[in-house]
């Protein structure tokens, strides 16, 4: 059978039986034959599991800056580049991006200033986030191999560039289970679907239990089939569920080898509870007017992202493990492309201003809100997109894709605030110092959650796969 659990949980020689016993939630008829933890794992793949060692991070919120923001116009200030606008960029490789670039330096068009105790340089497009720089741990030397949106997003989330492998969030819930069984453990939010779609939040070869639930901000009903049919009243449905349970129990009583039957009985109860819990979690009207205003819900230019950020906090508050928000475009007509808003090929300045407007206030509010609720002690917020941009120009005012050096930041549990880790060259073109590959980032994130990335494996088609493929080093310097 295909379902293997993290190796530390699988008892030698029992794996097959465990899997056969099903992936249910409820009690396991034969649990006396097994170790208790193993039995629990078999019965409930999303039940909380003990980590390899105590982790500081319980939940991650990843603000995915879809399309690839420019590092040299966001968090990687390069005075040398500012000085050499229009001059040749030494070592420029026209094959770096998707199109062809000019080979001439393009200075950042924004005003920059230093902020916080860390003296971090921030461009004018982030007036709100600039107040939080001392919470942020910057990884300036990120790099990966793919130079187009979908493959790079797949590499960033799944560790290698090929589709079909599980994403970080799937591995995480596979390793740790859920904290709230009434809600999905792994949630993705998007506006227009980002390029790569499901492949970016796939469970790959892991059981679909670990697939992200995608919440489309454009849809009225957030979760499929969550609402009871119009013809049903609650007491009617309750009576029906009671009868289903009764008949199912009778059926299961003569099929004791099948623990999944019991799990399926329980799944109806869980679904019934989810029917109530999920709408409550998704209901932003329960937030105070002040909170809503803090996130920017009333500002049309950032309302979508604000709702998503606030929702992310509510979900994490209720135990969701991994929330990823794919930033959509701001207001209509700002020139950005819906599925890749930060993709500033033609006009970097207006593009990044617009993207800043769309994301800055909500992201900053999320940090402030988490902090004020004490949730930043167990939640890690990540800001970053699938790659950076070229330091030389594409056309007159744009920048092309650049996977060779880009910045992401992490804030909250587990990391040192105000730290600048690694560096690109003086022009911000390539990561040169303490280079961080995606595998290293994943190893570090898993570590912060208490998982040893070398031990979190899944056997598929004859190979023990892990998120970090054959690489991955924990970045111990960034750990708090």
């Amino acid at each position: 059978m295909p379902n293997n659990f993290p190796s530390r949980l699988a008892l030698p020689g029992r794996r097959r039986f465990l899997a056969e016993a099903g992936l249910g939630f409820g009690t396991l008829a034969l649990s006396n034959l097994l170790g208790e933890e193993a039995a629990a794992a078999a019965a409930a793949p999303l039940a909380p599991k003990s980590p390899h060692y105590p982790g500081k991070v319980k939940s991650i919120i990843w603000l995915f800056m879809t399309g690839g923001p420019s590092q040299v116009d966001t968090w990687d200030y390069k005075p040398e580049l500012q000085k050499r606008d229009g001059q040749p960029l030494a070592g420029a490789d026209p094959k770096t991006g998707f199109f062809t670039t000019s080979g001439k330096c393009l200075a950042s068009p924004f005003k920059w200033a230093q902020h916080g105790k860390s003296g971090t340089w921030v461009p004018e497009i982030f007036p709100y986030l600039s107040r939080h720089v001392d919470k942020m741990c910057f990884l300036h030397s990120m790099h990966l191999r793919q130079n187009n949106h979908a493959p790079a997003s797949i590499e960033l989330m799944c560790g290698t560039n090929r589709p079909g492998l599980p994403a970080l969030g799937a591995w995480e819930t596979y390793g740790l289970g859920a904290l709230n069984s009434n809600l999905p453990a792994y949630v993705v939010m998007h506006d227009t679907r980002p390029r790569g779609d499901d492949q970016i939040w796939s469970a790959g070869f892991l059981p679909k239990t670990f697939q992200a639930m995608a919440l489309d901000s454009r849809r009225k009903e957030a979760i499929d089939n969550l609402a009871r049919g119009a013809a049903h009243s609650d007491p009617q449905q309750r009576a029906q569920l009671d009868l289903i349970r009764e008949l199912n129990r009778e059926h299961a009583s003569t099929r004791q080898t099948q623990a999944d039957l019991a799990a399926r009985i329980d799944s109806y109860e869980l679904a019934y509870r989810m029917q109530m819990a999920a709408p409550e979690a998704l209901d932003l009207s329960r937030e105070s007017a002040m909170t809503q205003a803090m996130y920017g819900l009333e500002r049309p230019e950032c309302a979508t992202f604000a709702r998503q950020c606030l929702l992310a906090r509510r979900l994490v508050e209720r135990g969701v493990r991994f929330v990823q928000i794919f930033a959509g475009k701001g207001v209509a007509g700002d020139g950005s492309v819906g599925d890749v808003p930060w993709d500033c090929h033609s006009d970097l300045q207006s593009n990044h201003r617009s993207c800043g407007l769309h994301t800055d206030q909500p992201a900053a509010a999320l940090l402030a809100d988490l902090e004020s609720r004490g949730m930043l002690d167990s939640t890690l917020v990540i800001w970053g997109g699938e790659f950076g941009r070229t330091s030389d120009s594409q056309g007159a005012k744009g920048r092309d894709h650049n996977p060779n050096g880009f910045t992401i930041w992490m804030a909250g549990a587990g990391v040192k605030g105000g730290l600048h880790y690694g560096a690109t060259d003086p022009f911000g073109y390539k990561a040169v110092e303490k280079k961080v590959h995606v595998n290293d980032l994943h190893a570090t994130l898993l570590h912060m959650m208490g998982i040893d990335h070398l031990k979190l494996t899944h056997r598929f088609n004859g190979r023990d796969f892990r998120l970090t493929d054959v690489g991955g080093e924990v970045l111990s310097e960034v750990l708090a």
Binding site: E20, P163, D198, D224, L226, G229, Q240, R264, N461
Partner: protein, 1006 residues
């Protein structure tokens, strides 16, 4: 004394080198190299690193022996040759980038180069750790791996069905007693879902329950095996292993509208019980083995069904190609051989005897295989039949014409000629040539008045179907062949007119989406009209004389240079008519008896939308100006001298053709033949997503990296699966992919025995929930061993003996007592074998996503039985195998019940239980609608007693009658639900039916 051989000299030189280099080299080593190694390299490349589990690349740089041994990427230094040394290349960041923390200073890198050029003197002792040595894989040992041996059948048990003998022997050894036979209704439901993926209808249930003959069950099995739904059920299992999908994944996930032909082909092959070896051969090389048949093209859809990026940059093109080859190899390995071949891309297989050479040999066999589309006749037999009928019907007008030609034509012509011939105007400069035949590779042409060849738009050319971001299909260029006849001699030039037309994309003249065309080659061949003539066809040499609005970079001459890569490109910008003149190198002598001109136009993509070809007999440089007219009159003038003699058949027909515009009676007979020809039946063409020629040589890659090529690979196969002479390579003169297919199915020397084991194991797995080998896609050392090795051997050899037909194996398995056991579990057995490895009872199993949806539709009586064709969305009532499989938008109703991600070969699906499944059953409109329909089926007339409706609903949904207790509970539930409603209990019955569909029993089969 013999002179030194070169090898010995080299050895001596190597020994001498360090001595010569010292002490200067050693000084350099101690001052620069050693400190740098310690500081920058030891952390990952030393014995210490190994002990800390941080060793990288199997490379030790902490001893001279380690440096000499190299690592997984091969040797790191070539003494005396810094430029060829991987160490220096890595330090310079060429290919590898070392150290990873950042490039060392240039002067230090120069020191490393100097040190290597000095022979890399190194005083450090210590052995290269053993771990750095590659584990050598013995192919010879590999051949003895249980799964790689020839099939060997032990003594066949004497039981009625040998399957039971093998199973019982293993049970007896453990003191296990098999479960009793399952109840008839359970057995029937099991057989139906197993073989056709649908529940039995109440009538089918009744008929089986009423049949007490000993052969009743066998009859059911035979009926089900010959049911067309059988192919639909089992094709889905195979499609999992083939990672079948209809889109490219990645960036734009471009849809492949012609991909479904592969799915249909699998269904048809399984229904026809195509021999499994043929089934495999066609998937590997059907396009080459059956080039004219849609079956061949559809079958190799297998190879190219994997994901492929929609946007490719110069930087990524090569890596993507190797990824694609890897995808094909992994899928071939997993689905056909149960082997994990993909691992070998980067390193020799750690567990199975598959060295690098085998992987790249296999990859090389696929080197010339890329994805593309072909327009093919969807049902060639029907086309052939229609053409035959048409041909027979054409005999009457043709005979009439021939009769007219031999009896009346000469007289009518000479009468006319006497009076009119001399009055004809002189020949115009340009004569329109009227085609007598016209063919095209990708689409239909028709000729309109005046001999204008027009694309008639009947078949949508590929361009119109192209998806956003998809590159043009490779190797799918258009090819026109136009045939003309003339009796004139000394033609000197051709002229092409290319007309703009509102019906064309961007008004043409080309058929490409932007109105352009790219004409790669023009060739003209002339031969005598008389088929008996012995004169050889002549290739007419053409010169580019003139082309209107010519692009100097892509001129007309490009179409005459014999190079298919260059083309005459005409864009649509002008939206005007366009023209070109092609002069003959020397006038075409031709024959007074008639000449056939065959004009071939080969395009790089789509063809020309409206084309007219004219000819002239004027000597000297052809000019643009001058009058134009049809060729009739000039032909009549040329034919007149022949018309008085007894005319050969061809000449008579020609005369009729050209005389028709001048004579109504002749025209009547000619038109009858033409009208019939124009009404020729057309094949039903379809665009098939399949393999195409393309690709380039394959190289060995170190660690699978395209920047690290090691030498060209030649086609070859898995050596451990080869018992013939020499190494398994493609025979001379055989397409490597055909050779691959031969090797794969070769029982004597090749992979045949493993192929047979893997497929019979899959049959067993889908009948029992677990294979004899529990890891169906891994028969290697990492996979599980067979629980019943002798049974596996027996089934595999029965398959081969029976001509590789699968249906007899299904029959044998399902008619065994082992298959017919009840699901009941004896506690004593359970204690001994809790996993049921010995198959002592039949484990209940949850249905797959497709079977659940199909069963829901069947319960509602809504299942649309239409087979084949383009995929549909989930609002359709078709069977689930016809649902669209788009990689980025998998249908939730499928994935929620564990339909797999179609990115890699899947041998077995996980079975998960999550609340979202319960939400589908409780709240989805799909289930609710089926519950309503089921209620209507259960109570056809409102006056019926409730108990009867309940009973009928049970029979439809669960294939059995309710127990009295169940009946009672249901009736009570109905009564409670009906309180206060005024619809005579219909809604309450819907709730009852909805409840039945939500039951575990509905989605589980005992």
């Amino acid at each position: 004394m013999k002179p030194f051989t070169p090898a010995i000299i080299a050895m001596l030189a190597a020994l001498a080198a360090p001595a010569r280099a010292e002490p200067e080299g050693l000084k350099l080593f101690e001052e620069k190299i050693r400190p740098a190694l310690v500081k920058h390299c030891y952390a990952c490349h030393s014995a210490q690193a190994r002990d800390a589990k941080k060793l990288k690349g199997g490379l030790y740089l902490d001893s001279a022996a380690g440096v000499a041994a190299g690592g997984e990427s091969g040797p790191v230094i070539v003494k005396g040759k810094s430029k060829e040394s991987l160490l220096v290349k890595s330090l310079r960041h060429e290919g590898l980038e070392m150290p990873p923390s950042g490039k060392l200073p240039d002067d230090l890198i120069a020191d490393f180069a100097k040190w290597i050029d000095m022979g890399a003197p190194d005083p450090r002792t210590g052995e290269a750790a053993l771990a750095s040595k590659q584990r050598s894989i013995s192919v010879e040992d590999g051949r003895n791996w249980w799964a790689f041996r020839p099939l060997a059948v032990s003594k066949v048990p004497a039981t009625d069905n040998p399957v039971d003998g093998y199973i019982r022997a293993a049970q007896q050894a453990k003191g296990i007693k098999p479960a009793p036979r399952a109840a008839k209704e359970k057995l029937l439901r099991r057989a139906y879902f197993d073989l056709i993926g649908l529940p039995p209808t109440p009538a089918q249930l009744e008929s089986f329950l009423g049949d007490s003959s000993p052969g009743a069950f066998e009859k059911v099995i035979n009926d089900l095996l010959s049911h067309s739904a059988h192919g639909e059920r089992w094709a889905r299992h195979w499609l999992d292993t083939a990672r079948y999908a209809e889109s490219g994944g990645y960036e734009f996930d471009g849809f492949r509208p012609g991909a479904y032909h592969y799915r249909d082909w699998v269904i048809k092959a399984l229904n026809a019980d195509m021999p499994y070896d043929e089934f495999i051969r066609l998937q590997l090389a059907g396009d080459l083995l059956k080039p004219e048949s849609i079956d061949g093209a559809a079958a190799t859809g297998f190879l190219v069904a994997g994901p492929f990026p929609g946007q490719i940059t110069a930087k990524t093109v090569e890596r993507i190609r190797y990824d694609q080859l890897d995808d094909m190899l992994m899928t071939i390995g997993g689905s056909m051989l149960g082997l994990t071949i993909g691992c070998v891309r980067c390193h020799e297989h750690k567990y199975d005897p598959i060295p690098h050479k085998d992987y790249y040999g296999l990859a090389s066999a696929l080197a010339r295989t890329v994805q593309g589309t072909k327009n093919m006749d969807i049902d060639p037999e029907a086309t052939a039949r229609a053409l035959e009928t048409h041909k027979v019907q054409g005999e009457a007008p043709r005979t009439a014409l021939e009769g007219f030609v031999s009896t009346q034509l000469p007289g009518r012509f000479s009468a006319w000629a006497k009076a009119e011939l001399s009055k004809l105007p002189p020949a115009p400069r340009w004569q329109w040539l009227e085609p007598v035949a016209y063919e095209a590779e990708r689409s239909f042409l028709k000729s309109t008045a005046g001999g204008v060849i027009a694309h008639d738009g009947n078949i949508t050319p590929g361009a119109a179907r192209r998806q956003r971001g998809r590159p043009a299909a490779a190797g799918a260029g258009e090819h026109f062949r136009l045939t003309f006849q003339t009796h004139q001699q000394n033609l000197t030039a051709l002229r092409f007119d290319l007309f703009a037309d509102k019906a064309l994309p961007q008004r043409g003249p080309g058929l490409n989406a932007d109105g352009s065309f790219q004409l790669a080659e023009i060739t003209l061949q002339a031969r005598p009209l008389d088929p008996a003539s012995k004169a050889a066809p002549v290739k007419v040499k053409l010169k580019a004389a003139y082309a209107a609005a010519e692009d100097p970079n892509q001129p007309l001459a490009n179409a005459l240079d014999g190079k298919p890569a260059t083309a005459w490109v005409v864009k649509a910008t002008a939206k005007r008519d366009n023209a070109a003149i092609l002069e003959f190198d020397s006038p075409l002598a031709g024959s007074a008896e008639g000449t056939v001109l065959e004009l071939d136009l080969v395009f790089k993509d789509q063809g020309i939308g409206r084309l007219r070809v004219s000819a002239t007999t004027e000597p000297g440089p052809a000019t643009w100006a001058g009058d134009t007219a049809g060729q009739h009159d000039s032909e009549l003038k040329a034919l007149a001298p022949l018309a008085s003699k007894p005319m050969p058949g061809q000449v008579g027909l020609s005369l009729a053709r050209w005389f028709a515009p001048r004579d109504a009676e002749t025209a009547k007979f000619v038109r009858a033949v033409r009208d019939h020809e124009a009404a020729a039946p057309r094949p039903n063409m379809a665009e098939v997503y399949t393999t195409a020629a393309g690709g380039q040589d394959v190289y060995f890659l170190r660690r699978g990296e395209v920047d690290n090529k090691q030498g060209k690979a030649e086609p070859g196969f898995v050596q451990a699966l080869w018992r013939g002479a020499g190494a398994p390579v493609a025979r001379q003169g055989v397409e490597p992919r055909v050779a691959l297919a031969e090797w794969m199915t070769d029982m004597n020397s090749g992979a045949g025995p493993l192929l047979a084991r893997v497929i019979v194991n899959r049959l067993w797995q889908h009948h029992f929930g677990r294979g004899i080998v529990a890891t169906p896609n891994d028969f290697g050392a990492q996979g599980e061993r067979p629980s019943h090795p002798e049974l596996l051997e027996y089934l595999a050899s029965e398959l081969v003996k029976g001509g590789w037909r699968l249906k007899p194996i299904h029959r044998m398995i399902m008619l065994s007592e082992t298959f017919r056991q009840s699901h009941e579990a004896d506690p004593a057995n359970l204690a001994v074998d809790p996993e049921n490895k010995l198959f002592w009872h039949h484990r209940p199993r949850r249905l797959e996503a497709e079977a659940i949806r199909d069963a829901l539709l069947a319960a509602g009586g809504n299942l649309d039985p239409a087979m084949y064709g383009p995929s549909v969305l989930d609002n359709s009532m078709r069977r689930s195998i016809y649902l669209r499989v788009k990689r980025s938008e998998l249908l939730q109703v499928m994935t929620v019940f564990d339909a797999p991600e179609p990115t890699a070969s899947i041998g077995e699906r996980p079975v998960t239980t999550v609340p979202t499944q319960a939400l589908v059953m409780m709240n989805s409109s799909l289930v609710r609608q089926q519950a309503e329909k089921l209620a209507d089926r259960a109570r056809p007339s409102p006056g019926e007693p409730v108990a009867m409706s309940v009973e009928r609903a049970y029979r439809i949904a669960l294939g059995r009658d309710p127990s009295p207790a169940e009946s009672q509970r249901m009736t009570a539930f109905l009564a409670a639900q009906a309180v206060g409603s005024s619809d005579s209990g219909r809604k309450a019955l819907v709730e009852c039916c909805h409840t039945l569909l939500c039951l575990n029993e509905f989605v589980y089969v005992d």
